[in-house]
Point group: C2
Chain length 219, copies 2
């Protein structure tokens, strides 16, 4: 599949490489079509990897991964272009973290709204699916990394059941997420984004980012 | 130990009975000293159980459990009386859920403040410890109930380390919480209260309230 990955940070880099390893063609997008970090990533990932502007990557992809920082996501997607997102699944991994007052961060949207819903509202023809935002990047693409022999639960939300199932089958299961709880429509993203403050606190107290969340329950 | 339990609902009832089983003396407090639900609970729990007003229960207890609904917690604690709370550990189990717009509920405080911090601010001489609010009542007092052979993680926060350790040793461990992550000061309650929306969504999708949260990580 052809996939556009927006963002050149550790999330975009890790997701992009995992998609290449899974056999996809990936174009990494950034503000500049000649971004240096994207060029390094392309050099390390072979002929299936390419780079371009946000618009180039979005036009290239049949599916788009939003791996930009939450505070810049709406602007980056705006540069990607509404037409280039229309009709496409946009996997939103971003988090609305506000670091402006130091650590731990607060959220710049929450409770009765979410960043994923803001993205869906701004680009109504896109098919936004929220997932993966609740673990550190390395664990996103390898659910088994958080502990030997044990995996956490992943959550997913989005307004179209077909899009949620597509993302679950194409990406979550191959990356090891055997236990996926489908939260239904995109208002579920409120809940998924609101556990980030606890992620940050657990990380600050344990000094270990390599953890996942397991919903412990009977079968 | 003498313990005051504020609230006659399922949380107060379950916590009160578990405390009696553990050998404590418990006085259940409510708006009325002759509350019928409290009278039933006393009748079922033997001579170590008694009832009274919020102020009676708070005066009786060396430790106080706030088991009232979040929307009524500040008022109930006000009736309990600042003097009756002074110097005492107040275990706050409440959640700031706002059901006024239907299901799922939103939070009436969050992000940069929490209900636990509002309680601490209103009763500055009390020693507020937030814990147990993240699971259904039956699991609070029996961590093993969520699944056979597997337990979740419990979190705790409060401004005094000594109070957090006291609650962990006296209550959390006896109730089966072997994995407790100490989040530090009471600002951690923001994160603990903000995962309730995900609790509600998981419950709505799975129709199973008997679950806990496990932080899956290496040792």
């Amino acid at each position: 599949m052809k996939i556009g990955v927006l963002g050149t940070g550790v999330v975009g880099n890790t997701i992009g490489s995992a998609l290449i390893r899974a056999g996809h063609e990936v174009r990494m997008g950034s503000r500049s079509a000649t971004n240096e970090k994207a060029a390094q990533w392309v050099a390390q990932n072979g002929s299936a990897a390419s780079q371009g502007s946000f618009a180039d990557a979005a036009a290239f992809g049949e599916v788009i991964f939003n791996c930009t920082k939450g505070e810049g996501s709406l602007e980056a997607l705006g540069q990607a272009g509404e037409n280039n997102l229309a009709g496409k699944v946009v996997v939103d991994i971003s988090n609305p973290l506000d670091f402006s007052k130091g650590m731990p961060p607060s959220l710049f949207v929450g409770n009765t709204d979410s960043l994923a819903e803001q993205i869906q509202k701004a680009f109504p023809q896109s098919r936004v699916v929220k997932t993966l935002n609740i673990v550190t990047t390395a664990v996103m693409v390898d659910a088994g990394l958080s502990a030997p022999g044990e995996k956490g639960t992943m959550f997913i939300s989005g307004n179209e059941e077909e899009a949620r199932q597509f993302v679950t089958e194409q990406f979550l299961k191959p990356w090891g997420w055997d236990d996926v709880i489908d939260l239904g429509d995109l208002t579920g993203a409120r809940a998924m984004e609101m556990i980030l403050p606890l992620w940050v606190r657990v990380y600050m107290q344990t000094q270990n980012p390599m953890f996942s969340w397991k919903i412990v329950r009977g079968k």
